[in-house]
Amino acid sequence: MTPSPAASGFPTLVRKEVLRFWKVSFQTVLAPVVTTLLYLVVFAHALASHVEPFPGVSYVQFLVPGLAMMAMLQNAFANSSSSLIQSKITGNIVFILLPPLTAAEIFAAYLVAAMVRGLVVGIGVFAATLWLIPLPVPNVLWLVAFAVVGCGLLGTMGIIAGIWSEKFDQLAAFQNFLVMPLTFLAGVFYSMHTLPPFWQAVSHLNPFFYAIDGFRYGFFGQSDVSPWASLAIATGAFAALSWTTLLLIRRGYKLRH
């Protein structure tokens, strides 16, 4: 009658969150890959005559990792935030809140699923562009490190946005006025060195910039900032946000009354 001492519900929550986007992968994976390719075609055409951002690296080559990272960041954010807001608005969040899941388990599950979505989209972008635009052999370790930290950072922001928002338009505001500007102004389309000093300084306050700059280093071995510094700053931002998010969930902020 009594169930045996049970394991953690964490793996199931990860599975559910991954299935949730995978079941509609046309919209959650394919669509962002196509959008990214459109950006690539348009910007590459419009700005192909641009000077080489790094010596020996064409503008189109420079663009690919930036766009891929932008897609990864935006989709990691979209996954956790949209899942949470949908569950809150439809009310099925109770099925997550009633089981014996700890705050850390809930946080980690939404985070991992967001990272999986971001990474799958990133892989999709590379799979689609690889044979059109040849890139140097990448330093895989740097790539993975920045992809993981970047997706983690945005997945965490998505959790905060999903918990905080009570309506879809509040979440849209978060997305349009915070995530979009920060990703667009993080050096996806240009090298920081081309900016006036003031805007360079402003850009250095943007944690997304370090994720993109470091990710690019994995391909070209060149970057605006040392990859170690970038990794430290991006990881620091990720850790600070994670701690905040965990605290919010533990306190039951907007989830338990």
Partner: protein, 302 residues
């Protein structure tokens, strides 16, 4: 050890005191009813049991596990069917139940899921998407979701609202069997008839407090009674009966009676007065009457 124990539980939402020092204990194996008007605090209490609401004061435990300090054990011990129909449109019925099992750390729960599907007449819908189900079927899936981890305490918050008669019967048959197998059942319902038929003990709530708590039989006996209803032709009730009777209109009168001797006595008085009785019936006590009386008594006391 009580299955559910609340001691001085208080919860305020803004200006509304949803629970106001509520205390009650539900014994293991009981079929317990929680009754009260809207806003009495029933759902708040149930939400607090499941950790959806955190009380401001007091202690609340399930099978001896504090819902705050020992929340993992408390949540494993209780299965809650929420009042609102909610579902995840991404999944089928079976997937929904497999996921819910997994959240409780149960990996190989297929046999029990099959049994739940069968008992709740959902086997044919196992592969159907949740979206395609009728309201009553969604409700039954929610019942199954609450039972995937075989909780010793089962809480049903208005489970039959909007469910048709046949489904209601299926559900109650199943819940009664669970109760017979040792599960404690805590039920809120708007259908007082249901509570009267099912519950062995009932707590009546109002404004976040318990205003009466007793066995269903005692509540009925102390706040209600048998009533003799008579319809008279062309005459009024004799004064000796009129003092305690109430007019219902169209010649109908309600006369409270304790037992059959009282009935005979009342009829004798009517005969003596030369009244012609057109129709007559003896009505059994009803929980509804208890409910109305208690709620009014409480209002008058305020």
């Amino acid at each position: 050890m009580p299955a559910v124990e609340a001691v001085g539980v208080a919860k305020r939402f803004g200006r509304v005191q949803a629970l106001d020092g509520l205390s009650l204990a539900v014994a293991e194996g009981e079929f317990f009813g929680l009754l009260g008007p809207n806003g009495a605090g029933k759902t708040t209490l149930i939400s607090a049991l499941g950790g959806l609401v955190r009380p401001d004061a007091g202690t609340l435990s399930v099978m001896g596990h504090d819902v705050g300090r020992d929340f993992r054990a408390a949540r494993r011990a209780v299965g809650i069917v929420p009042q609102e129909i909610v579902f995840d449109p991404f999944f089928s019925v079976r997937e929904t139940l497999e996921l819910q099992s997994g959240y409780f750390g149960l990996r190989h729960n297929g046999a029990w899921i099959d049994e739940l599907l069968e008992r709740l007449a959902l086997t044919g819908k196992a592969r159907a998407n949740m979206r395609s189900l009728s309201g009553g079927m969604k409700r039954r899936v929610m019942v199954a979701q609450a039972l995937v981890h075989r909780p010793p305490v089962i809480v049903l918050d208005e489970p039959t609202a909007g469910v048709d008669v046949e489904l209601r019967q299926t559900l109650w048959r199943f819940v009664r069997e669970l109760n017979a197998a040792g599960h404690t059942i805590l039920l809120t319902t708007h259908y007082l008839e249901e509570a009267q038929q099912l519950c062995s003990r009932i707590a009546m709530m109002r404004d976040g407090r318990v205003v009466a708590l007793d066995s269903t039989a005692n509540l009925l006996a102390s706040f209600s009674g048998r009533v003799l209803r008579v319809q008279l032709e062309n005459c009024d009730l004799p004064p000796i009966l009129a003092a305690q009777a109430t007019a219902e209109g169209a010649g109908w009168w309600r006369i409270p009676v304790q037992d059959s001797a009282h009935v005979e006595n009342a009829l004798a008085r009517l005969r003596e007065a030369g009244a012609t009785v057109a129709s007559l019936e003896v009505a059994e006590p009803e929980l509804e009457e208890v409910f109305v009386k208690l709620m009014h008594r409480d209002e008058a006391a305020q």
